[in-house]
Amino acid sequence: MSSNDDLLLDVRGLTIRFPTSDGIVQAVTDVSYTLSRGETLGVVGESGSGKSVSNLATMGLLNRKRTLISGEILFRGRDLLTLPQDELRKVRGKEIAMVFQDPFASLHPMYRVGDQIAEAALAHANISKEAALARAVELLDHVGIPNARNRARDYPHQFSGGMRQRAMIAMALVHNPSVLICDEPTTALDVTVQAQILELIEEVKREYNIGVILVTHDLGVVAETANSVMVMYAGRIMEYGPAEQVFGRPQHPYAWGLLDSMPSIEQRLERLVPIEGAPPSLIAPPSGCPFHPRCPYRFEPCPTEVPPLVAPVPDAHPDACHLPWERKVELGTQRSLLARDAA
């Protein structure tokens, strides 16, 4: 798929636990994935599925004293989890940058936008303040802020939601990172502005030849922008593969459920097909496959054995489900026939 030089992130067996007074929250369990240059990895899942937490670990933003983390996060061969704090600081914000959901909460309301970007520039480079400001203006212009020189002197409240998110992207790009993590970058934005921001992220990726991790609950966003997709549920990966396969031939009952419950804009359906029940508690997740209590196809091994994330047949992508391959094919075919009947 890609040569070793292109491999940016190699996460292996990442497990994250938060001890709380109510018990241990099993936020992420045994998660492994890779990210290469030029790749957009879409991470989808509902609230509490662990999709954000695993990225916070990559950024080194989890308190190491209060969090139990095991596994490896290899960034170009170096394990970020064992890196000393001062070494980690050289990677975070410089080589791996992040864009958060709420651009208003991530910008300081009392500093000028340009100064905030310049501050990011000064944090990792030994340059003059003037040079940092010039860099900020250059980047603001680059991310499509009209009249960047003057707008750099604005305060965040003078920017619209879309412009703030552009400013956040500019800030993330200050040091030409090789990994850009976008955590729900468009959730707070209107749909027409969302389209603009997604386009900008795609352009930035192509131009800088970087890897992008796009975390979102919106399957449509992932389907349109990601090359590879990771479907998470209750802290585990349920299905992981190339986007056109995961959306074209999904293999896991949870992925079927997610796709089927999505309200369609193409047609009015007689009845939406929800996933029954509610997502589980992460303090006491279900035994075996975490999805089994809501899964209509569960059978004997599901409540007791955790299904491994493996490709069931050589030309399929990995999924974590006990169902035999023939049964998955059969159910998958039924599903697409039903979809065609509804149309």
Partner: protein, 370 residues
């Protein structure tokens, strides 16, 4: 497609009682005064809702769609007289309620209820579910509502044993069911749902939408359903009003609007929605953001972002809603001739094409086909 259409049409035609319209809004306008400047020397006005004329038919679901700040929630609040209009008229169930006092409105309140967006903020955390759902009965002087409340809990898919539990013991979807039960309590004629599923996960959204649809059938309810999510609106609305900067820019049958949008803004909204089924399709990119409602653009409010903008026409003369298809109205001088259209086709509206074509950060692009 045919079955769904038939169902939608049947839903739209279900008429009970006298008078087809449950709610009529007539040239409704709402402006809010806001302070401007550090020492609040000047006051300005937010043009929240401008000259909106709408009807809600009995038994139908009217969807109101638009981006944040387009006035969709304000319109709904005016409809319920939770806000007082600056100008215009509101008729509910054949009665002009525009100038009624709060006391006069009180008996009417039981006929109109609301389901709110955030199921965490809209339920009092210190009251039990029984108290929350029982409150409407208490307010309207019905005691001993306990059995009725338990029935309601069952109707919305909860269990009567939940009566003595507190909201924090429930998930988001279950809380929204409690909110629906409370709205149903007094058998209202109209329920306004303001983004009722926006705070819910997608697998739970479908549960709540199914519930709302089946309740409508069982109790002959009329819904006004507000959402920014066009896919959700498609699943529930019989008719749709598309709003932009306080104006209704397109109005009509859901099916017609989704298959043949006439207003360029509607088309841009539809094309901007990311889809999981990646069919090759072109996206109409709008530039910039929605202008400020304090100082909205002259004439057509959409002209600053419109790909079909004609200088000397769109910025001079405000378009009125006019009938452009069977039960479909749009407020546009240069409505779309067909759909789908490519970005370039849209720009080449009859007459002079837009000369000062705005610099597009992302011009329309071809999406990958699978």
């Amino acid at each position: 497609m045919s079955e769904a259409t038939a169902a939608a049409n049947a839903g739209a035609r279900t008429v009970v009682g006298n008078g087809e319209n449950l709610v009529e809004l007539d040239h409704l306008t709402k402006r809010f005064a806001v302070k401007q400047g550090v020492f609040a020397r000047g006051t300005a006005q937010v043009h929240a809702v401008e000259d909106v004329t709408l009807t809600v038919r009995r038994g139908e679901t009217l969807g109101i769609v638009g981006e944040s700040g387009c006035g969709k929630s304000t319109t709904a609040r005016l409809m319920l007289r939770l806000l007082d209009p600056t100008a215009g008229r509101i008729v509910f169930d054949g009665r002009d309620i525009t100038r009624l006092s709060q006391r006069q409105l009180r008996p009417l309140r039981r006929e109109m209820q609301m389901v709110f967006q955030d199921p965490y903020a809209s339920l009092n955390p210190r009251k039990t579910v029984g108290q929350i759902v029982g409150t409407p009965f208490a307010i309207h002087g019905q005691s001993n509502a306990r059995t009725r409340v338990m029935e309601l809990l069952e109707t919305v898919g909860l269990s009567p044993e939940h009566y003595n539990r507190y909201p924090h013991e429930f998930s988001g979807g279950q809380r929204q069911r409690i909110g629906v039960a409370r709205a149903l309590a007094l058998s209202p004629k109209l329920i306004v749902c303001d983004e009722p599923v926006s705070a819910l996960d997608v697998s739970i959204q479908a549960q709540v939408l199914n519930l709302l649809r089946s309740l409508q059938r069982d109790f002959n309810l009329t819904y006004v359903f507000i959402s920014h999510d066009l896919s959700v609106i498609r699943q529930i609305a019989d008719r749709i009003a598309v709003m932009y900067l306080g104006h209704v820019v397109e109005l009509g049958d859901s099916e017609s609007i989704y298959t043949h949008p006439k207003h360029p803004y509607t088309a841009a909204l539809l094309s901007a929605v990311p889809r999981a089924s990646a069919n090759g399709r072109e996206r109409i990119m709008l530039t910039g953001d929605v202008p400020s409602p304090i100082n909205p653009p002259q004439a057509c409010v959409f002209h600053t972002r419109c790909p079909r903008f004609h200088r000397g026409h769109c910025d001079v003369e405000a378009p009125q809603l006019r009938e452009l298809g069977p039960s479909q109205w749009a407020a546009c001088h240069y409505p779309l001739e067909k759909w789908p259209m490519t970005d370039d086709e849209i720009r080449q509206a009859e007459g002079a094409a837009r000369e000062d074509r705005p610099s597009l950060e992302g011009t329309a692009h071809e999406l990958p086909t699978t």
